[in-house]
Amino acid sequence: MKRIFDHPAPSERALTGPQYWRSLDELAATPGFKQQLAREFPEGASNLDGVDRRHFMKLMAASFALGGLGLAGCRRPEKNILPFGKSVEGIIPGLPQYYATAMPLRKSAIPLLAETHQGRPTKVEGNPTYAPHGGASSLLAQASVLDLYDPERATAHTSAGAVINAAAVNDLLAVIGTTYTASKGAGLAFLAEESSSPTRARLVKQLRRNFPKAVWSEYEPVADEAPAAAAQTVFGQSVKPVYRFAKAERIVSLDADFLSSESGSLYYAREFAKGRRVTKKDDPMNRLYVAESALTLTGSMADHRLRLASSHILAFAAALAEKVTGQASFAKLAQGLDAKPEWLAECAADLLNHKGSSLVVAGAHQPASVHAIAYAINAALGNIGRTVDFVEIPASDATSISDLAAVIKAGSVKTLVVLGGNPAYNAPAELNWAALQKSVSEVVRLGYYADETSAHAGTHLASAHYLESWGDARTSDGTIVPIQPMILPLFGGVTEIEVLARILGEAKADGYSQVFATITGIAGGDADKAFRRFLHDGLLANSAYPVASVNFNGAGIAKLVNGAAAPVALSKANLEVRFVTDHKMDDGRFANNGWLQECPDPITKISWDNAILVSPKLGKELGIDPKGSMIQVARKEEADFEQGAENAHVFTLTVGGRTVRGPVHIQPGLSNYTVVVALGYGRTQSGHVGTGAGFSAYALRTAATPSFVTGATLTSTGERMKLANTQEHWSMEGRDLVREANLSEYQENPAFVNSFGLESHSPSILGEEGTKMTPGERASQLPRGGSLYKTPEFDGKHQWGMSIDLNTCIGCNACVVACQAENNIPIVGKDQVMRGREMHWIRLDRYYSNGAIDAAAFGGEGNKELPEDPQISLQPIACAQCELAPCETVCPVNATVHDEEGLNTMAYNRCIGTRYCANNCPYKVRRFNFFDYNLRQLDSLYLGQLGPKGMPELVKMVKNPEVTVRMRGVMEKCTYCVQRIQNGKIQHKVKTAQSGNPSDVVVPDGTIKTACQQVCPVESIVFGNILDPKSEVSLAKAREQDYALLGYLNIRPRTTYLGKLRNPNPKMPDYAALPQSRVEYNKKNHPAGHDHEDHGGAGEHAPAHGTEEKSMKKSPGHTGLAVANRVGGLS
């Protein structure tokens, strides 16, 4: 049977009533239900006859027996099963369905598969058909599902404050079209977001034909693609770079955060990881040089990192270009650069040694001149066509928001249509957009929220979420992907495509018809077939932007750099402000998303706020550095941290006469006089979640300097403000949590991870025999030791295990929110996070190390300074499913016990909330429901029973039906996504039983993926059956870098880590023979007198350490049991 893609015409009820079906409220309005109500009484009366009378008598008897305590209340309320009236093809109640769609963002999109349960999308995963992403998706994509069910989204179209229905909206848009037909669009203006949609492009083209005098402008507050001007100048073509990181052995990033904030970062992260992953001794490993002002995720992966102000990057790029190309013309530009010449020289030499396999990438926010120079370097190195391709992109002919503002000021705009975006919040400050918009007589605004911009618009049209609209988009490489609705618009929202089509007076203005017309026009052939294939695959094959053959023309650069000023020396009185796209809020569009607000920033670890980030040096000059001792290792007397509440100083940041106020957070690793502020916070008209979180840095931003500006000052207000910071420990305290080595050491001693910690000093806790076994054999054969407790027998057909590769983990946080979406994890709000009660089942620990930690760990001089230029180590931690789990032995009610497949299970119904298990967990990964986070509103938690109860029906719809929603007083934690494991096993058994091979009950490797594994763009997380020696996870665990965190406790965690490698260049001035965390480890555990030189790279020492007792005695750090992290929530 042919599936009908077109939606039926909305019924009377759909047009007037609330539109999310299947709520009881709506059901109550249906004729069927009314009828049912009407006949309920006679039926209810008949209940007293027959069988039920017997029940009634029984119950009465029970009541008498219990002395008047009636048990009628113990009966379960009567519930109904409501099957469809008419069968729906393909829907099997109880099984999720998956549809290909995509999440558009600016000029790119992430292809997705949306999981729907009875028509209700609950989770998205990357579409594996799109090879560059390989099934991965991003933090923002994961969280976007929550936006669909945001009760505070715009739920109605309004005009002049009154609600208007869909028909009125259509009329209104049609009238705009007819009104301006005569004047050819004079007086009509559009302001839209950037978009990659081919359908929108087609409609805009038509719009320009029909209304040649109308203004079409586009505005995006943040840039995530290289400026088109750069490529246009040096290549004379409309092209953009697409980097091939997998082929690049040497990479230089010029302020570019290509792993997280740039367009295509998912693809780039994946490719970067391919060049980074080392599985065998002789595997090559890329080397990353980063020059940047802020500390980005890309910077945290760097082998050599140069802290440099963003305004000095041009000079740095020129200096590098001079070294690489040998052209003296760059020298002039490089004047005034404050960077070690050897750094540059050696970096350039390394690049020159890797012609054709190196890559220089400039940050999207950097001016065209920097990009042009980067292209020049890549051209000189012969990288073009090898590690970087230039692809043809359609040139944009939209006017800028500043030009539009000028037209509005001139008074020639009568009707302004604002499609998406939020210019009243994020337009350049000097435009004073809100006032400008008010001056236009008719403003029609399409927005997902009734936000700052809607407040100044006469007409607000509720926008549809991408999961409820028809649309199309292109990924960053140009592949055309569909946007399919999973559900009819919950609140009758319309899309940009529909609005444009209606203004144009199209006969079939619905999204489906429009997209169908575009796609079949491009694909050709049998239209229906092509479109079905497009929807099925989730992409249009071979639709990527074609690779252009480009000729580099250096002459153009001179034009771009003309007038570029020499870098200004920065100081406390002349600070540089760098505006960064927030890792979670993006440009502010996700401000009302609780999952994102609560997700800690990957570097600062602050949630629910942004902050003015300053370097430790500037912090000292401002007089706000924590002056206490033991800065790096423990809680500070200065009380800058108090159980997760960072007591920040509030400063005002002034630049160009504009001022904002915000808390200051000292961030190691920043360029000394660069102040970093994240955009996207300080929303004034958002929902409960977004309003009031952080401060808006848009107030400082002008169109001329959108990404960084110099001449700023910071002034103290003398006030303090609490920030919710989830990780107050900055250092590993010289312990062996993240085990690192340089590549050279690894090549000599691949098993370097074994030279750490207590394990290196004692015979193996698993015994000689156990060490030789595979993890699978160990699980099933190794005796449990002399434990007094009955230990579980692992006799299941599978034994689950996980391996996390620390070498490729980029700390993007996608796993954190993917887990939250999959496992119904609630958000708890800023107040609760400050008490250490965040509920994330997986957390990313971020450690700084600069090698300065002292042997006398608690109180030594080196511990009193904040590291200015630290190395970063990242480590995702979730429940490790210990085989000998310490949590299980302390549970008084057996609520947490092992199953036969090695999972440390949590039976919520048994849990009585003693929290002993969390206290006894060495990894601190258990989370406790201190309140009914799923039932009560976050601002009235402390009212207890007096507070309002219940969740809006809409919020419940995002919950995964396969996972229990936990209540107050219950402990919870990672279960390796037990629901996926069980369903995977059952589906496999069903398949084999039905195909006549019922004895095959072992699920093939790769069938079951945990949520964190599936989302991971760098494939750091591998999960599977360790009994199968050929499974991915067994192979990973068999690698020599495999180690167990806190393994010396003999808890035998099923999650193990693969040691991190760094690949520094020995010729560089900042070369260190050992990673800084190793230096700290050695300093602390093998202080003076002990020969720690050979502890580093040598590699022959590991077994020999078994007898060295003296080093053990001097190792206070060895005795601590818990990971250096939060324990506050348990108090």
């Binding site: 249906t30 004729p31 069927g32 049912q36 039926e43 209940n47 069988v51 039920d52 017997r54 029984k58 029970a62 027996a65 219990l66 002395g67 048990l71 113990c74 009966r75 379960r76 009567e78 519930k79 109904n80 099963i81 409501l82 099957p83 469809f84 009236g85 008419k86 069968s87 099997i92 109640p93 109880g94 099984l95 299941g796 057909k797 016990v897 092992h898 199953d899 036969e900 497949e901 999972l903 299970t905 039976a907 919520y908 119904n909 396969e962 996972v963 229990t964 279960t975 037990v978 629901q979 494991i981 069980q982 059952i986 058994k989 069903v990 039983a993 019922p998 004895s999 095959d1000 009950v1001």
Partner: protein
């Protein structure tokens, strides 16, 4: 001076203790019996919007369970048929029966027939039909002889103890896969002895979970 308390008051403490013990005993016994699913659920037979008779359709007319519960071997839920499924036949037979009016109306409007939910496990227990019926566990094990019921009633307690009983001794409950939907068929153990049941369990690698994660997530 006369005594405030009569002599019989000496027995009072003992009497109180005895009464308390008896009362507590009754309360405990009452709760254990009357508050368990065995009492509260078994026998539950609510009146359905349409008096559908399984006995008529299955035993008399010989329909297979899966004609209506078509996804029982694919999904965790055993689906209740859509009104369209009913109308496959009832658009031809008994087209004007007043008893079938709700079905006809549902088919016409698309609104559901509100069948009353009888067999219900708690929300935190994730029972999966497909895992059972595909591997030798017949409908009758949990639902009783539905094929002979005019009005469906709750037959087994469906408590955790009930589940575990079978999960611990699957060999006594499994049927030949051909017989799963034949509710009158004997189990393998009843037909050919427990040894045969054990053999089937072994051959099919049947290892019902007895740990929490089997059913609770």
């Amino acid at each position: 001076m006369s005594n405030i308390f009569p002599k019989s008051a000496n027995k009072l403490p003992l009497q109180i203790i005895i009464y308390l013990v008896v009362l507590a005993g009754i309360a405990t016994a009452g709760v254990t019996y009357y508050m368990t699913p065995k009492y509260t659920r078994v026998g539950y037979a609510p009146v359905q919007p349409v008096p559908f008779s399984h006995a008529k359709h299955v035993t008399e007319l010989g329909m297979d369970c899966r004609y209506c519960h078509s996804n029982v071997d694919k999904s965790a839920h055993s689906n209740v048929p859509t009104s369209q499924t009913c109308m496959n036949c009832h658009s031809i037979i008994k087209t004007t029966s007043p008893l079938l009016a709700p079905v006809r109306e549902s088919y016409a409007t698309g609104e559901s027939v509100p069948w009353v939910w009888i067999h219900k496990t708690p929300d935190y227990a994730y029972f999966n039909h497909s895992a059972h019926v595909n591997r030798g566990v017949s409908c009758v094990e949990c639902h009783g002889k539905i094929n002979e019921m005019d009005v469906v009633s709750h037959q087994q307690s469906l408590s955790m103890g009930f589940c575990l009983e079978c999960h611990r001794n699957p060999e006594t409950r499994v049927r030949d896969p051909k017989d799963v939907y034949n509710l009158n068929s004997p189990t393998i153990a009843a037909k050919s002895g427990v040894e045969a049941g054990l053999k089937f369990v072994h051959n099919w690698n049947i290892k019902p979970p007895q740990s929490c994660s089997g059913c609770h997530r």
